[in-house]
Amino acid sequence: MTALPDIHPPKARARRRNSLTPWLFLAPGMLMFAVYVLIPIFQSVWVSFHDWDGLGPMRWIGLANYSELWWDDAFYTSLKNNVLWLALYLLAVPLGLLIALFLNQTVKGIRIYKSLFFFPFVISQVVVGLIFSWFYAPGFGLLYVLIEWVTGTGVAILADERYVTYGIIAAGLWPQIAYCMILYLTGLNAVAPDQIEAARLDGAKGWRMLWHVVLPQLRPATFIAVVVTVIGALRSFDLVSIMTSGGPFGSSRVLSYYMYEQALSEYGYRMGYGAAIAVVLFAIMMIFITGFIWKMWRDERGL
């Protein structure tokens, strides 16, 4: 009985020290995450139940912002455009793979070609937006002149509600393809040459080689490419803002831009409504994020 207290306290202290250390290291990161991510999320939800112009007092209105969203045409336009973004933006993944396969060879000067293909990802989204705006510009834009030359009448892509979202997505795809390409290029470096060799001896060629031998080994790269593309599509904001400001008459809005417009832009004084849009966008994103985290967790446990 007397011996026990002599042995245990140091051990317990050591164990406590061991269990405390990781938390100490985590603390700064967790504090930042709480202050800049977690607390703002709850604040946004809180604000979304209020009528607030960002200046005066907040007025509790319950779910009125959400019921207004339900009847708001502009919200559905934004939602539809977000779905379009999501679907078409994912084209960046196969297209990036295509270019990566094409560039994955040892030819003289291949590094120059690789850097040239990677270039659009390096330049800022704002610049990408400007370049494409000029490309589409009525009167002098390359595409406009081309269409005029072929069909006789030019189409001002960014001023036509039918084409405007596709025009902006095309601009977004340009850097996104480059990003997926670079992910696949690094992935291709890790493809085991002996397996390729073995497959070749077994007579695998072309599509079958790609589908059964190369692609399975590229799964980690594909996963990352899909994740960044989905997230990128959902938070698309800069291109919409630069190229059209959501126009013409709001037909190229996406949820993130609509939120900005309602809460923060020149004419936007509706913090509560903006917050409600943000909460909906967050909920949509959570569906995907949960899926990704679930998959990662499963992979880590080796299931």
Binding site: D53, G54, L55, G56, E68, D73, Y136, A137, P138, G139, A156, L158, A159, E161, T244, S245, G247, P248, F249, G250, E261, L264, S265, E266, Y267, G268, Y269, R270
Partner: protein
């Protein structure tokens, strides 16, 4: 001992901060005067003010013109200056209602500004009090290419039917009768405002922008009916271009007329037009029984409620309201002074604008996005753009605008 030490520390602390208060009184001013002419005008204004009040030092923070519109909301609540630029009319209402601007009715009363600044008094008044000082405004109207008129062989007119007849002739010659760039939405609000002022008059227009008239009203539809007559003669790609691009349409002779504000005169001239080729006229009369009203957006300076030095800020406002100060400032700005005793520069467009505004018996509107509430302004201008592209959707658009109005009212 402890007390003297603390006292010394306090004295030392005071000594480091005191000079700013004791020797000179400081005024902090936030302004959006980032373009060359406004910047020069404000530098001049502040130099002259400091010469007259050597005790007061004015510190200026210049913001980018567009960024300022959102920045003001942050600095008014977080770190208020003593003076801030803004706009007259309903545009200042959110700040007045949130008690972010100081009531400066005393400056108006003491300096007799209700007389000298009479033309802008109503636009500065909310709840019977004045909330700032207007220092400049400029007229809107039609800027046109005289060469194109000559080429087609028609005369400028102030009659709506004749104007539309001219438009048909321009169309035959392959020229857009009216051009505009609606990418940033606001230029087309000028067209709506004028059609509304000419069809239903100033009082009705102000009621509409204040949200007192349903957007589904027949009189609103009458305005759009007039607009529809103009649509076939309006540049097709307006939604894709900025207002400056539409200026080049006029400069290059691809378009004849442009409903614009006087600030565009400089852009027309940069493009190569001169006083001989660039014409200015009032927007045509639609209903001759309605007193002519015009559009003249007013720029203003306010004292934020959180100002640290409101007394000196009021001195500055009183100074800014003076006739000679406004004369000098507007010469640099190339705009019109508000003070009735000021004189106007000899630029022909300014002279024409002064004549136009001083004889506008109907009244002077600010501009759609200043007369209407911010949300209504945004929804309205978007609706105008949609109408210009898809006139057949008018009823849907008006119902949507009416929903915005009802939500704001209730």
């Amino acid at each position: 001992m402890v007390h003297t030490k603390r006292g010394l520390l306090l004295a030392a602390l005071l000594a480091t901060t005191a000079p700013a208060f004791a020797q000179t009184r400081e005024l902090v001013m936030n302004t959006d005067a980032s373009d060359p002419a406004p910047k020069a005008a404000f530098e001049q204004l502040i130099a002259d003010f400091e010469a007259e009040y050597p005790d007061i030092k004015v510190k200026v923070n210049t913001f980018d013109h567009e960024g300022y519109k959102t920045a003001i909301r942050n600095f008014l609540t977080a770190d208020a200056p003593d003076l801030a630029n803004w706009y007259a009319g309903n545009r200042m209402a959110p700040f007045v209602e949130a008690n972010q601007f100081l009531d400066v009715s005393d400056v108006w009363a003491e300096n007799g500004l209700n007389e000298s600044l009479h033309s802008a008094a109503s636009a500065m008044t909310i709840d019977g009090k004045q909330w700032g000082i207007p220092y400049t405004y400029y007229q809107w109207g039609i800027y046109y290419n005289k060469d194109v008129y000559e080429q087609v062989g028609v005369e400028p007119t102030d009659n709506w039917e004749e104007f539309l007849a001219n438009c048909a002739k321009f169309q035959e010659a392959g020229i857009d009768c009216v051009t505009t760039g609606s990418k940033a939405l606001w230029p087309i609000a000028g067209i709506f405002d004028y059609l509304s002022l000419r069809t239903n008059g100033y009082d009705w227009h102000m009621q509409l922008t204040r949200g007192e008239i349903p957007w589904t009203d027949d009189k609103v539809k009458a305005v759009f009916a007039e607009w529809e007559k103009l649509l076939p003669y309006t540049s097709k790609n307006h939604a894709a271009i900025d207002w400056q691009d539409a200026v080049s349409n006029v400069v290059q002779g691809k378009a004849a007329n442009y409903v614009m504000g006087n600030f565009a005169a400089a852009t027309f001239k940069d493009g190569g037009m001169t006083n001989d080729t660039l014409g200015f006229m009032q927007f045509p009369t639609i209903n001759p029984d309605i007193p002519r009203a015009e559009e003249a957006p007013t720029d203003t300076i306010h004292i934020p409620a959180g100002a640290k030095n409101p007394e000196d800020a009021k001195l500055f406002l009183a100074y800014l309201a003076r006739a000679d100060v406004q004369t000098k400032m507007n010469e640099t700005l190339g705009q019109l002074p508000i003070n009735a005793d000021s004189t106007v520069g000899d630029d022909p467009y300014l002279q024409a604008g002064f004549e136009l505004l001083s004889t506008a018996e109907g009244g002077i509107a600010q501009f759609f996005d200043r007369d209407a509430s911010p949300e209504m302004a945004k929804a309205g201008m978007e609706g105008f753009q949609e109408f210009m592209v898809r006139p057949e959707r008018l009823d849907t658009i008006l119902e949507r605008l009416e929903r915005v109005r009802q939500r704001e009212a209730g």
